[in-house]
Amino acid sequence: MEVRDGLRYSDDHEWLRLEGDVGVIGITAYAADQLGDVVFVEMPAVGATLTLHQAFGVVESVKAVSDLYAPVGGEVVGVNEALAGRPELVNSDPYGDGWMVKLRVADAAQVDALKDADAYRELIRAG
């Protein structure tokens, strides 16, 4: 299962890519595979402020529902509107078109605290 280098990862199987002070967030290929066919993604409102680990949305597949937890705190500055009509993007392109939200990162230290790709590979290997 692909773990992309250069991204940061949470223990809840979310990835974060930093673009300036904005973090783009999605779920990993491993998480998408575990869920199976994603059928719906519930997103927060743009402008909402999330704290670290706050549940901000829900990803629903045919057989399971998972809460999404903020890997870092910050203000929601964008959500992936395309997922409303094409939730399957989460399965087909989890690190690209399947992204979920953009947060203006409040505390850069929280990004540093996330895992790098190798540490995340270790996490999913350990199951």
Partner: protein
């Protein structure tokens, strides 16, 4: 989100038409032709609605289908042929107790005196039904060992909510306001934690031990002055009796909590274990399971709740009471001020309860005990017949159902439990419950019930063994199953991504105004 408008036509997507055998059906809406039907009720005078202000009136009549009776009957009879049912074959759906549904139950519920009685009829007009309900309450008290029973809840989950609301009222009345947690085992039915949430509690999950029972140490550690109740299914969803039930109940009560029993699996222990006598404070019955009322395609059922002395004041109102003169009446509003109140309209799903009453009277005490003995014997026999083809994770005598797993089969052949289940359809059986309980990987939960003959059990065991052989020899045959059902496996992802939950091809404009 708007479901896409998709034109449906009667064509190849319904598959081949055969003289007998499965044949997919057009929908009622497709069959409709303006002008058909009529003749069931008289036409009212043209001015019947004249004094109803126009702003309250419907501007455009509903675009309901127009069919004649022969078409309607043929439509539903043909649809019925697409269903598997107990009346057509073996239905070993674990946790659901799919036993034979006696026909006299159906006859009884349709007797005019029962069927036409209005729920608000004065007690004087309802003596027959009230007597039946009262006698049913008495029988359920005896079966459960509880002090009182309410027949109101409309389903098992509704019974759970009723029971847990009483638990809440009990603690509140004692000023015990910190009890905000309900403990459930990880093998529990999903309704248990969902019920706890509805009643404003948080759920604490405790693991099972290696023997498939509740981990007693984990339970003791989880119990605290915050615990309101522990919800247990006994026998458990693994089909195993909690043999440390006495210690479990002692621990619950020592912590000041109440013990709730999910009665889903009562069919295993009729006359063998009375939860109220053993110390449970509250339980629900699933009369559609244990007392065969039937399942109705998923409902209606009924979920009466029994309580011990501690919860008596909180029972929902109204109860059925017997007066000293032998007449029966419903409790009056406010007669029991501590009641949790109403959990539904009127007093219960009487039509379902008539069937449960008939079932219990037909069996009597000895017959009910025999039901459990035969159900348990059948499950153990079937388990012994699977001989090595599937792994049995908890190898001790089971009650009315047991768990098997296809995990080794999956590792060896890639064939999953889902595939085994679908292949059983080709062999003429309804599959068992699969992937529940959640704690056993690739599991099948198999409940044969007491109404299946030994020949049926043997043939089903053979079918399962044969599928395991097929998985080794020709896995694609199993993975592609079912091959003989009216339809093949379905695209569930598209169904959920682009929900089409109603017919949209017709609009009101296409049918003439019935006025």
């Amino acid at each position: 989100m708007t479901a896409p408008r998709i034109e449906m036509t009667i064509g190849p997507e319904l598959g081949p038409r055969t003289a007998l055998g499965p044949m997919l059906q057009p929908t009622l809406m497709e069959l409709s032709r303006p002008g058909r039907g009529e003749g069931k009720v008289p036409h009212p005078p043209a001015d019947a609605l004249e004094d109803i202000p126009v702003e309250h009136r419907r501007a455009m009549p509903p675009a309901l289908p127009e069919l004649n009776e022969a078409e309607v009957v043929r439509h539903f009879v043909n649809l019925s042929h697409l269903n598997y049912s107990i009346d057509s074959g073996f239905y070993p759906l674990g946790s659901c107790t799919m036993k034979f549904n006696p026909k006299i139950n159906e006859w009884a519920a349709r007797l005019f005196g029962f069927a036409k009685l209005h729920p608000l009829a004065p007690d004087a007009l309802a003596q027959g039904t009230l007597q039946l309900l009262w006698e049913l309450e008495e029988a359920l008290k005896e079966i459960s060992g509880m002090a009182a029973v309410t027949l109101q809840p409309a389903a098992g989950a509704h019974g759970e909510l009723t029971g847990i609301l009483m638990v809440r009222a009990y603690h509140e009345a004692r000023g015990d306001h910190d009890r905000r947690e309900v403990i459930v085992p990880d093998s529990s039915h999903g309704t248990n934690p969902a019920t706890a949430s509805m009643a404003g509690f948080t759920t604490v999950t405790v693991p099972s031990d290696e023997r498939g029972g509740v981990d007693l140490d984990a339970l003791r550690a989880a119990l605290s002055p915050r615990t309101a109740a522990v919800m247990l299914t006994n026998p458990s969803t693994l089909g195993l009796f909690e043999d440390r039930i006495v210690e479990l109940l002692d621990a619950v009560h020592a912590a000041g909590a109440l013990a709730y029993m999910d009665g889903a699996n009562l069919n295993a222990v009729l006359g063998k274990f009375r939860p109220g006598a053993a110390g449970f404070d509250v339980m629900h019955f699933n009369v559609h399971k244990t007392f065969s009322t039937p399942h109705g395609g998923g409902g209606p059922g009924a979920g009466p709740v029994g309580v011990g002395e501690a919860l008596l004041p909180y029972l929902p109102s109204p109860l059925v009471l017997r007066e000293p003169d032998g007449s029966f009446r419903l409790e009056r509003p406010g007669e029991r001020p501590e009641s949790i109140g109403r959990v539904r309209a009127y007093q219960g799903s009487t039509g379902v309860l008539v069937r449960a009453y008939a079932y219990i009277r037909a069996h009597g005490g000895t017959g009910l005990a025999q039901v459990s003995e035969d159900a348990v014997l059948a499950a153990n026999y079937l388990k012994s017949r699977l001989g090595g083809a599937y792994e049995i994770p908890f190898d001790r005598p089971c009650k009315h159902e047991f768990v098997a797993t296809a995990r080794p089969l999956k590792e060896a052949t890639g064939v999953r439990t889902l595939d085994v289940a679908k292949r059983l359809i080709d062999k003429g059986y309804h599959p068992p419950t699969i992937y529940f309980p959640l704690i056993v990987e690739e599991c099948l939960l198999i409940e044969p019930t007491e109404t299946e003959s030994v020949e049926t059990l043997d043939a089903f065991a053979e079918a399962l063994i044969e599928i395991a052989r097929e998985a080794h020899e020709d896995p694609d045959l199993v993975i592609g199953a079912p091959h003989s059902a009216p339809v093949r496996r379905l695209d569930e992802a598209t169904a959920a991504r682009q929900p089409d939950l109603r017919w949209r091809a017709m609009t009101g404009a296409e049918t003439p105004c019935p006025q």
